[in-house]
Symmetry: C2
Subunit: 256 residues, 2 copies
Amino acid sequence: MELEPVTDLPEIRPGDDLAELIATRTTLEPGDVLTVASTVVSKAEGRTADLEEYPVSGRARELASRLEAITGEQKDPRFAQAILDESSELLIEAPFVLAETRFGHIAPNAGIDRSNVPGHDILLLPRKPTESAERIRSGLTERGHEDVAVIVTDTCGRPFRHGQTGVAIGWAGMPASRDWRGELDRDGHELGVTVQSVVDELAAAANLVTGEGAGGVPAVVVRDWAFGDLEGSDELFRAVEDDLVREALREWTFDG
Amino acid sequence: MELEPVTDLPEIRPGDDLAELIATRTTLEPGDVLTVASTVVSKAEGRTADLEEYPVSGRARELASRLEAITGEQKDPRFAQAILDESSELLIEAPFVLAETRFGHIAPNAGIDRSNVPGHDILLLPRKPTESAERIRSGLTERGHEDVAVIVTDTCGRPFRHGQTGVAIGWAGMPASRDWRGELDRDGHELGVTVQSVVDELAAAANLVTGEGAGGVPAVVVRDWAFGDLEGSDELFRAVEDDLVREALREWTFDG
């Protein structure tokens, strides 16, 4: 397996054609996987915003005050409003906001970015990242690059483990996970639960060669990697009824 | 960045010298990262066990009964005892056991494996995987393979997201994470929180080329990847006081 960053992409603007910009800067063969950072997908889709666009509801004011009281830092209620607008549920309200986005991803502040936004205050995640991935994939197909899978990535923290890793938030042209259930080990025993989240592993791998910040490369081509002939599925975000941690968080309130 | 599986490793037995077995089957250059699956590290360290070795305490009997009552499946109290022996804390007791191992990793059943154990009932995780990684690294150095970082990996599920991914449980010769805080984005703004868990990303990447089961390849060499000159840290498992999800789980009980 080989990963190659797509270099020399310009600063992305609303309306930019990512498929075109990427395809002219790298080689794409059938079977390759292309990862694209959500930051550039969002920019191409015009998902920048300014805080003045957010009329503040009572709920947002309450959320910001609570965060201020707990953290001792000033919190802009318009930013709280932006989080609420992007979320279907808040799992943690304080000391920081952990929200489920409308497409199912669970991230601090609903994944809203306050860095990397030239000329605007905030950058929202793509509205429907799997549709974004499908659009980029179609764009590649139209340009003669058949059978390239596309993954839209984010970097995100997680419970129990320190730091962030690359994760997938949208994908097209491949299943999200690979199902090893029923496969046998060397000794002929059936394996335990083994649904492998390949899109997250690919996103994590890509994040090792992208880097953050000014030198950041938002797209990576993965070569010589095959999904194999196992069953796949398109589940990536846990169903609510399959998520005990979410259940625990729903019943819990931070008390200092 | 390039990942190459180490093929043709034999079935590993207690006392086997992994550094020797791996070094004779691949090329290792300074700066390479070698990932090794915890299953083979455990086997080399003799971490197989049989359930009859576990005299059952009242606590294990209670845990097994509760699991039986909730899942409707038979649960061996000796297996519950093995989990308790390997754990410093149970975060979830039912409908499945989520435990913190004595070295800080949080995993279902404390990471105890019931497949892949020829001739025995269970396979425990290495007792101190970072020491295991250091031993393999020293073994490589002794054989003239200087400056190869080593990561001991596990595959593990996670809250919020479906499926499992490769994660690091021990590492040597590199920091666990890379600290981008204070770095600037293209627009000159400081980045948000960005501590990148590179050992987990490397473990996830490696898991894409190892596979599970009979065809599984337990070791992978990562080439042409550099940590870079950012600050690093050796935190991987969240400190208790920095883990709200753990706090929520401590206060929560499954009630069907």
